[in-house]
């Protein structure tokens, strides 16, 4: 087939739709939308081969605002619908948009299985630790003691850590980003796209109306250098304004600790080097919380294996190559008889 290649390089504006964006003014989702549109332009995405699938919630309005194909589905079920899209047409580039309620409460089971199966898609989970669209109830990622309309005396249940859930479910790619980190996020999303399999990206997103500033203790720009660490494969995990803080693996405690280069005889050699293929390391990194530790962002874990959709289609191709599809023969298999 002769296809005309569009020589005009698309910009992020080409991925904007004619629909009015209807999130609250100041919502973190605006920044994420911009980051995604930039990513699509940067990676040279083909709009007609790109599909955004979402569930229900504030984040799930996302597909209406991206000039590609989109399917705004039902609460919690986007991973299953996106799996169906990939099984029908593995050539499509599927991006899944979900939130902490949609993806980890009502849809927790589907999230578990889409990750376990390793279906080739990018799963962006916008975590704002609250239910926005239903007006402020606590979510499965809300900190214990969160006061909300449904928990006036404070929530009593323990929250889960999305990235830890993803690793536990068997995800082969786990990353974390922050809504307003427009410099870092497109790079992380591009890596997610590059990964063949289910790529899980937790995006910490501020809900300005119902849970404002919940991440402020580590997202404030002026303190970010001391409160966040952007990990890179093969690089020592150093952070801080002075670039003198780092993560050290304490063998006796089998735990990570923060150290300062130049103090107590610590040198750069004592700083743990990030290995994104090391699952155990990833598990430790995703659990680090501020202010005791820097919050880990970037590609935390990436260890590719064959994707589910590739494996499924391989079986289909093998069957097609080895067996003739002769329907009349199929229904005559086994014992038949003739009435004269």
């Amino acid at each position: 087939m002769n296809e005309q290649t569009d020589v005009k390089k698309l910009t992020f504006k080409d991925f904007e739709t004619d629909q009015e964006v209807r999130w609250c003014p100041g919502c973190g989702d605006y920044a994420i939308l911009k980051a995604v549109q930039m990513t699509l332009a940067n990676i040279g995405a083909t709009p007609e081969n790109t599909v955004f699938v979402s569930g229900i919630g504030c984040s799930s309005r996302f597909p209406y605002y991206v000039e590609t194909y989109g399917f705004h589905t039902i609460h919690g079920r986007a991973p299953a619908i996106a799996t169906g899209v990939k099984l029908a047409n593995p050539e499509l580039d599927v991006w899944l948009v979900t939130g902490d309620g949609d993806g980890l409460s009502i849809g927790g089971n589907h999230m578990l299985h889409v990750l376990r199966r390793n279906v080739n898609m990018q799963i962006m989970l916008f975590n704002n630790e609250i239910y926005g669209l239903t007006k402020g109830q606590y979510s499965p990622t809300s900190k214990q003691g969160t006061k909300s309309p449904s928990t006036p005396f404070g929530s009593v249940d323990l929250p889960l850590t999305p990235c830890s859930f993803a690793i536990g479910a068997g995800a082969r790619f786990v990353a974390r980003g922050i809504d307003t980190a427009l410099k870092a996020l497109p790079g992380t999303l591009a890596r997610a796209k590059e990964h063949n399999g289910a790529s899980f990206i937790e995006i910490l997103q501020n809900c300005i109306v119902f849970n404002d500033k919940t991440f402020e203790h580590f997202t404030l720009k002026k303190e970010a250098a001391n409160t966040q660490i952007h990990v890179e494969h093969g690089q020592p995990m150093i952070y801080g304004k002075e670039k003198n803080r780092g993560l050290h693996f304490n063998k006796d405690k089998f735990a990570l600790e923060t150290v300062t280069i130049g103090e107590d005889g610590i040198t750069e050699d004592d700083i743990l080097v990030h290995d994104e293929t090391n699952k155990l390391m990833a598990q430790m990194l995703v659990e680090l919380t501020a202010p005791e530790f820097p919050v880990v962002c970037g590609v935390i874990y990436c260890d590719p294996k064959e994707s589910y959709d590739d494996a499924v289609h391989k079986q289909v191709e093998v069957a097609k190559a080895n067996k003739k599809a002769d329907f009349n023969a199929l229904i005559r298999q086994g014992r038949t008889w003739t009435v004269e």
């Binding site: 007609e48 597909p63 589905t73 299953a80 899209v85 047409n89 589907h110 499924v312 289609h313 005559r332």
Partner: protein, 621 residues
């Protein structure tokens, strides 16, 4: 059973009903299946009824662990698995106990005497051995120590006792083959093939079949074992035939639909009794481009199918009542987004878990009305095993032509039951090639065909047709989300009109037996077809003015149905639920019908319907 002794010492029968009953580990389903195949190969009409417990291996010897297989076969059209067995094969006391009630008085009982020991009698709840008192004096009882004779017949193969005893179903089959003068070769060929890798087991089973058969030959003179002959069913159309069960036929029908529509099929499903066989069958057909997705749950199963339909394939999902309930919200999404989807409901007795292995027709309300909002879909029903094939094709045709979910109602009875089927030739069947929209000119995703009201199907990957759809109401003229009041009215109206209009694209209601107009009609739908047909046939032979109207299109209903129903003075609606079709017809046509309801987990007996016909016709027995 109409008996006539022939010269060859066979009693000639028009039809006969045999029930094999034993422990769930005794291999009764296999025995019944194989007997059915041989019966079919010799040209008798037949209908089977596998009747088994929900437990895979219930405790040995218990009444609730009895697994039975009933086959009705004849040189005449049989169409049901038979009201009353003429021959009962009981492999243990529990099997005798639970099957005796339905047996015809004067019928033959073949029992394995060796299994009637104290332990088994106690487990079955017999205080005395029924073989040693006169409790079975109404029947012709053949007491045979099948266990012992089986062990002797397989001795030379050196199997352990447990394995050796497992051949007793084959010994029994050998005897029954002799009793009906049926060939052994198809069975021994099958055993050789099945146990190709363990020749000792193959040979032992073949020896058991032969020994059972030989026992019949040699015992004939000394005992009162009789032989029966059931001839060919000569009124069948010429052609090539096979046996087929409903689940298999439905799976093949869906693939045939996919071939005729040239639209690849993706099945998203989750295992559930009695629908799992659809997954098993379709997962083997990858060379037809069929992709099967065993999802994490029923919801993911239907969602996977909807995702596939969004991407341009035909999504199919299959389940039974409880699973369909879980899929409900997602079906609403497919209705709102107007995507094709085939939903198969192999119904079972409910509510909740109900009786998983027993049949019922109680999902009609769920199928027609069971969703939030005004959410019309197409509902089709299958009325016997081979009809499942045609219904599968029709479901694919309607779903793709009208961009709508289509629910197919089958049930546990026809799903598992086998019947002869005249094998069709797909090259002679009408094609209905499905087209995806490709023209960007004036495109929006809810552009409709003015005739069918179906929206265009624009699949991702097509340049120039980028769009977003979802479960929020769409604007009629652009497909964008819309909260406008008048628009919601218009969209609700058009969704309903689209489904209603399908009444013009389905067959008119016919009268399946008898005349349009008259004193009485029996109305049925789904798997009750065979029993109603036979009951109406017998009633007409008694000069009762009664006809049979069988409804295959449940929603929309055929456009002349009201006229057909109104042409009778009186209508009986016979169904295996508490009156769901009866209420549907009342709601649609203010029809005041007499309900014949049965919810015992068992199909209708012909006599149950016949009695009701006589009563409604004012005829006493």
């Amino acid at each position: 059973m109409n008996v006539q002794t022939t010269a060859q010492n066979f009693d000639e029968l028009d039809s006969v009903c045999v029930r094999f009953a034993g422990d769930s580990g005794d291999g009764m389903q296999l025995t019944g299946d194989q007997f059915s195949v041989v019966t079919a190969l010799e040209g008798s009409d037949l209908s089977t009824f596998p009747d088994f417990p929900a437990e895979i291996r219930a405790p040995v010897g218990t009444t609730f662990g009895v697994s039975a297989f009933q086959i009705n076969f004849g040189s005449v059209e049989v169409s049901t698995a038979g009201d009353e067995p003429d021959v009962l094969v009981a492999m243990n006391p529990a099997a005798l106990k639970v099957s005796l009630e339905g047996l015809r008085k004067g019928g033959v009982i073949v029992v394995d005497e060796g299994a009637f020991n104290k332990r088994n009698l106690d487990k079955a709840g017999y205080e005395e051995n029924p073989l040693e008192n006169d409790s079975l004096s109404d029947y012709q009882v053949q007491k045979l120590d099948i266990t012992k004779m089986t062990l002797e017949s397989v001795k030379e193969f050196g199997l352990g006792k447990k394995d050796a005893i497992r051949s007793k179903n084959m010994w029994t089959l050998g005897l029954i083959l002799w009793m009906f003068g049926r060939q052994r070769k198809p069975i021994t060929d099958w055993l050789e093939q099945k146990f190709k890798k363990i020749p000792d087991v193959a040979n032992a089973n073949i020896a058991a079949v032969n020994a059972g058969h030989a026992y019949g030959e040699t015992a004939e003179v000394s005992s009162n074992l009789r032989r029966y002959h059931v001839g060919r069913h000569t009124t069948e159309e010429a052609g090539e035939y096979r046996t087929v069960n409903g689940n298999q036929a439905l799976a093949w029908g869906l693939v045939a639909g996919s071939q005729l529509g040239d639209i690849p099929l993706m099945l998203g499903t989750y295992p559930i009794t009695p629908a799992s066989a659809l997954l098993h069958t379709l997962s083997e057909l990858k060379e037809y481009g069929v992709v099967t997705f065993q999802a994490e749950d029923e919801i993911a199963a239907v969602c996977g199918a909807i995702g596939a339909s969004f991407a341009g394939q035909l999504g199919v999902t299959s389940s039974s009542g409880p699973g369909i309930a879980l899929k409900t919200e997602a079906i609403g999404l497919a209705i709102s987004a107007e995507l094709p989807l085939v939903i198969v409901d192999v119904q079972r007795a409910g509510p909740s878990t109900g009786l998983p292995t027993k049949t019922e027709q109680s999902d009609l309300y769920q199928a027609v009305w069971g969703r939030n909002g005004d959410a019309p879909i197409v509902v089709l029903s299958a009325s016997n095993p081979h009809d499942c094939f045609d219904v599968g094709i029709e479901a694919v045709r309607l779903a793709t032509k009208y961009m709508t979910p289509v629910m197919v109602l089958s049930d546990g009875y026809i799903g598992n039951a086998s019947e002869p089927w005249k094998i069709p030739d797909i090259t002679k069947m009408e094609k209905f090639t499905v087209k995806h929209h490709t023209d960007p000119e004036g495109f929006h995703p809810f552009l409709r065909d003015p005739e069918t009201l179906a929206r265009v199907w624009a699949k991702p990957g097509t340049p120039g047709l980028l769009h977003r759809v979802g479960g929020i109401e769409k604007d009629y003229d652009s497909g964008h989300i819309s909260y406008d009041a008048a628009n919601h009215q218009k969209m609700s109206d058009v969704r309903a009109a689209k489904i209603d209009g399908i009444a013009n694209d389905i067959p008119l209601q016919s009268v399946s037996l008898g005349d349009q107009g008259g004193k009485l009609a029996v109305v049925g739908w789904g798997s009750t077809r065979g029993a109603i047909h036979q009951a109406v046939k017998r009633a007409r032979a008694e000069d009762i003015d009664v006809s049979h109207v069988h409804i295959d299109n449940i929603w929309p209903l055929p456009r002349n149905l009201e006229e057909v129903l109104n042409s009778y003075d009186n209508v009986i609606v016979a169904e295996m639920n508490k009156g769901q079709m009866n209420n549907l017809l009342r709601a649609q046509y203010l029809l005041d019908a007499h309900l014949l309801s049965k919810v015992s987990g068992q199909p209708f007996k012909i006599t149950e319907i016949l009695d009701c016909i006589r009563e409604q016709a004012g005829v006493s027995k």
